[in-house]
Amino acid sequence: MNALKRDLTTIEVIKGALIYAAEEMGIALKKSAYSPNIKERMDHSCAIFDSGRRLIAQAEHIPVHLGSMTFAVREGLRYRGDLEEGDMLLFNDPYISGTHLPDLTLVAPVFYKSDIVGYVANKAHHTDIGGKTPGSIAGDSTELYQEGLIIPPVKFVKEGEIDEELSNFIKVNVRTPEVQMGDLRAQIAANNLGIARLIELIENYGLETVQDAMNAVMDYSERRVRAELEKMPEGTYTASDFLEDTGNEENPVEIKVEIAIKEGNIIFDYEGTSKQVNGPVNAPLGVTIAGIYFTLVSVTDPNIPINDGCFRPIILNIPKRCLLNPERPAPVAGGNVETSQRNVDVLLKAFSQIIPERIPAAGQGTMNNVSLGGLREDGTPWTFYETIGGGSGGRPGSDGVDGVHVNMTNTMNTPIEAIEAYYPIRFESYSLRPDSGGAGEWRGGCGIVRSWTLLSPTATVSILAERNKIRPWGLNGGSPGAAGEYMLRRADGSMVKLPSKCTLRVYKGETLLIHTPGGGGYGSPLKRRPEYVLKDVKNGFVTIGSAERVYGVVINPLTMELNLEETERLRSKMRGD
């Protein structure tokens, strides 16, 4: 038996075991966490690193953590590297951890025979970390200090025990200390499991073989990504898009990127992007990198194992003090949720020039963050937070998906029956918005209509959203998707239009109507097959009027049959033949 080839199989087996160990950490964290945010929305990630602090394997459920983990481990250990066996480093400082304050990062070294052989780490979004508003995501902060407790890298766990003083210090700074401590215990358990799995592997196969496997898995991913990049035409490609306002100022904020593909490498240059702003939409560097990684994984092959190797071909230039690489003390709470979406829109727009056949038109480009809370009739407090999906962009060869979360988030909705049982609101509708999907040969996905009426005397509602003024773009001749719209219906039936970022008071009997953006269309609407238009009309995704006006498809409203002759005539006229 050939010894070398034999090892290759062993390495394959260990590779699988390393990826599985990260997944198992994620499952342990989800299982033992307390808050629904982690248990149900799965807003957490786990990862394994080698002794050189390179990412080996990651189990993530929220793309915004992708890549920011690597950043966090590197920066956290640079800040505080003197770790002993049984220590774990806790931090959330966005300028070290790479994402907003509610994401708590916990890093632990893995010791084998008194040497550090690797690290395990996880990051979880906590429901509250103090600051001026419940949930610690205010739409109008001007400084980081307003957004919550800032924790630099500290030894939260020392020799296997939680540091009680630090734990008390955190507890008095947050609104729901028991929940935070419950989730932190789950984070510790996940790291302990990761440590145990890594040591088991080393005991079974030997340190050297495991290290070989770690190198092999990174090299493998690098080869796969480079092979994908080599298929792309060399050159430079630019794109830009805007956030419509900052939460505190009305002016739009630009994100601009130049992507260069050169000699198997890929360069991302953000020169020309707006300066950091006086509102919470600055994106810490980790969030920016996460957007780049998300995009790269999505446009190459999502089946490539995600690790340090994938990102070796990347060269970055993100100017300091810009929106995507701000300096302390710029506020950053909305960077994770809104700016990250726009960053990906810009990156995909640039890629649409490189690999047009693999890039969809823009999706809804927002997460529609809605938080509400107040007192019930009996005086007990309640708070509720949700994000709402919209349309995804039309794609070469298929329509966009209706009513779904796009790009940087993928959290689940809360069942209406659960919300109505817990909170004093009653839903009026949860449906798809006809005609909101951008017209195109491949239609953009429809946005969502979600509306509810307040049953308690009063409540405070905060909205943090985007794409209410600047619509999601279409591609290759496709129309943009419909803009989002937030409205309040007063008890007397009058309607008030709300801005996309605001905090307001609502009263009993008032109804909030949320219309989320549709996705952009792909290709000219005049090329859409008339049968598809008819099907959309029959199903109510497109109105019969739009079918004629936008798609040039004539349908007899009585028989609901296509008039192909008229359609051809109308389309020819619209094309200007």
Partner: protein, 690 residues
């Protein structure tokens, strides 16, 4: 009296008959007929009856994949037009689902096709709140207009789902009555009637899956019943449900959503039954067939159950991909699955790395060695090259095989990897084993069970070849290989009871609870169970009712199920809460005694017991005689070993064999690794210990 079990799989239809009077089995395996599975069933039965027509048949139990196949969009199983009626404002709730993408990084991700087109989803004015209070009465005039339209559209099955119907079924009952009165031939599924749990999306989805399957399953089962009569079989037909229990064909036709994973459940039930027989209470059940491997866990002889299943979903790395299928909120036997079966194909990817699966050569053309035209290397070919399979024939000599074709297939694989044929074959086996070890970990380690304390029961045609390697990987010390591994799943059909599960959503904290109302709800569900069981011919003294209650800490979104005592009193509630705290500690690592506890749902399982096959112990002892020797490769020894080959039929109770050794039989081959010793027990099982 004879009992017959028939398991229709994708590749084979297996028939097991058990003669109660003499305690003996009869096994038969024939190729399935995918176009019409009932053809295969009838063929198998006719073959059996040709030689056994003198004995009366007491019952026929059937496992079928027709439900899943229909949802996967198999041709010839066209879904009939189905309509959905729901509360005004919510007809798109089904399409939005949980608003997630099943594949985060796939920009071209698609939802599974809607089972009910948007234009066939109707909204009617009505509203009930979470307390069950009627806020807006059901608008019957509107409903009638909808029904008129439904009729015009040529719809044959109707699902009804209203918001908060778990708290009050009134409107759903009224609407179903209206549908049934108006159109006699309509199929109706009301969400609170199929699975009365809170969480509207999953409840509606369950009702819709039920509604689309009703016409298909009803026509399939009634056709099958009349064909049985035609060939002279008057015995009743029963169907295996996904929860591991039986239902009559009539009940299954009304609730086809409960039989979608009928087949895979049978193997786990067989393992639990065998465990009971030989005194093993903690079991990991492992089934490796032609295209997939499946693992399940049994604790205290009870198979583990899940109720958040999605049918026709995708499986990735052993786990179901959430959002890729259609949710069905009914109890399913918990299984992890991977694409590693005898026919699974090995290949080399773009970056030069060896991959096993997910493609399979199935039973036809099958592995290269079958000589039916497949030239790609499979797991079976790898086993053949390593000497583990008979080099000339399979199926007890009925099927000739061609080792040269296996070598040919592996030569090209070896070239791509620059290794020898044997090295390539060994690599394929090791990678397949690591994939299968992972699904065993998913059902044990991930569920909080230590596999070292479990016994591995291994079956499926290919399972016993990989048993030792998997046990070593998970440090399991004991393996049981039943007498006919390839037929073992079908045996599970004869070892099951009748199960019917009922649930009612409650959603109240324990201090808001009215104990009497809960007791009444329990009694009502038990009565429903009693009626269903009587309709299936179960005598009252064979009925049992289990009460369960789903609890969670207020604000959590995951509940745990604990047993509830009868009658339901405040003492019973206290003890359920105490059990909940301790179960929470076991499963999640902590409990919070000061937190408010919420009752999410209450459940009843109605069980109708039927006598199980009784095997007789054998006491004969015979000398073990090997039939030949051949060179076999063992990866642990890193070498080829001259290994004795035994014929399973020659091994009788008390025989002992030390590994390395190979045992061949009609439907399977068992590979006994070095360091393992085998003994044949009184029921002809091979018991392997390390």
């Amino acid at each position: 009296m004879i009992r017959i079990g028939i398991d229709v799989g994708g590749t084979f239809t297996d028939l097991v008959a058990f003669d109660e009077s003499i305690g003996k089995y009869f096994n038969l395996k024939i190729p399935s007929v995918p176009r019409d599975p009932s053809d295969g069933v009838l063929k198998a039965l006719k073959t059996f009856l040709e030689s056994n027509n003198d004995k009366p048949v007491r019952m026929i139990v059937h496992a079928t994949t027709i439900g899943t196949n229909a949802l996967f969009g198999q041709i010839d199983l066209e879904l009939k037009k189905t309509a959905f009626i729901t509360t005004r404002g919510f007809r798109d709730l089904l399409e939005i689902g949980r608003q997630r993408r099943a594949e985060v990084y796939n920009l071209f991700f698609k939802r599974p096709p809607q089972l009910v087109e948007r234009r066939h989803r109707y909204e009617v004015e009505e509203r009930i709140d979470h307390m069950g209070r009627v806020l807006t009465p059901l608008n019957l005039k509107e409903l009638d207009e909808i029904l008129e339209d439904i009729q015009k559209e040529g719809v044959v099955s109707v699902a009804i789902g209203f918001l908060n119907s778990y708290a009050n079924q009134k409107h759903e009952i009224e609407a179903s009555g209206r549908v049934a009165n108006r159109f006699e031939k309509f199929y109706v599924s009301a969400s609170s009637n199929i699975s009365n749990e809170y969480r509207e999306y999953e409840r509606f989805s369950t009702a819709i899956v039920n509604a689309v399957l009703m016409p298909i399953i009803d026509s399939y089962l009634s056709r099958l019943c009349s064909s049985l009569k035609e060939i002279g079989l008057e015995a009743p037909l029963f169907v295996m449900q996904s929860n591991g229990g039986l239902a009559t064909a009539e009940v299954a036709s009304r609730k086809p959503s409960s039989i979608v994973e009928s087949g895979p459940a049978a193997g786990v039930i067989a393992s639990a039954w065998l465990g009971g027989l030989i005194g093993e209470e903690s079991i990991i059940s492992f089934d490796m067939g032609g295209t997939t491997a499946k693992a399940g866990t049994i604790c205290k002889l009870k198979p583990e159950i899940v109720s958040d299943y999605e049918v026709a979903g995708k499986v990735h790395m052993g786990r179901l991909v959430k959002g890729s299928g259609y949710p069905v909120r009914l109890p399913f036997i918990d299984l992890a699955e991977c694409s590693a079966g005898g026919g699974t194909i090995a290949s080399v990817d773009e970056a030069g790395v060896l991959k096993v699966g997910p493609l399979s050569a199935g039973a036809y053309p099958g592995p290269a060695c079958y000589g039916h035209g497949n030239t790609q290397p499979t797991i079976t070919d790898a086993n053949l090259i390593l000497g583990r399979l008979n080099q000339r024939v399979l199926l007890g000599g009925k099927m000739q095989i061609f080792p040269d074709y296996s070598r040919l297939a592996f030569e090209s694989l070896g070239e791509k990897l620059s290794v020898s044929v044997e090295d390539a074959a060994e690599s394929v086996i090791r990678i397949a084993n690591s994939m299968m070890a992972k699904i065993l970990r998913i059902v044990s380690v991930e569920r909080g069970f230590d596999p070292r304390r479990f016994t591995l029961i291994v079956f499926g045609g290919a399972g016993p070849m990989h048993a030792c390697a998997l046990a070593e990987e998970l440090r399991i010390k004991k393996i049981v290989i039943p007498p006919n591994p390839g037929m073992f799943s079908a045996l599970g059909l004869l070892a099951s009871d009748f199960f019917h599960d009922f649930v009612k959503g409650i959603m109240k904290t324990v201090d808001e609870l009215e104990i009497d109302l809960i007791e009444n709800s329990f009694l009502k569900m038990e009565e429903e169970g009693r009626m269903t069981l009587s309709s299936e011919g179960i005598e009252p003294d064979r009925m049992r009712f289990l009460r369960m209650i789903d609890l969670r800490y207020l604000g959590q979104s995951y509940e745990l199920t604990v047993d509830a005592q009868k009658p339901f009193s405040s003492d019973a509630l206290d003890s359920a809460i105490a059990d909940f705290h301790s179960k929470h500690r076991d499963v999640y690592g902590y409990s919070m005694k000061s937190e408010k506890v919420e009752i999410v749902s209450i459940r009843v399982r109605a069980i109708g017991e039927i006598p199980k096959p009784l095997l007789r112990k054998k006491l004969t002892k015979r000398r073990t005689q090997k039939k030949e020797e051949r060179r076999v490769f063992f990866e642990g020894l890193e070498s080829w070993v001259e290994t004795p080959i035994y014929e399973r039929g020659q091994l009788t109770t008390g025989c002992e064999i030390n590994g390395p050794a190979i045992v061949e039989q009609y439907d399977s081959t068992s590979v006994i690794y070095p360091d393992w010793s085998a003994v044949i027990d009184a029921y002809d099982n091979i018991i392997l210990k390390r």
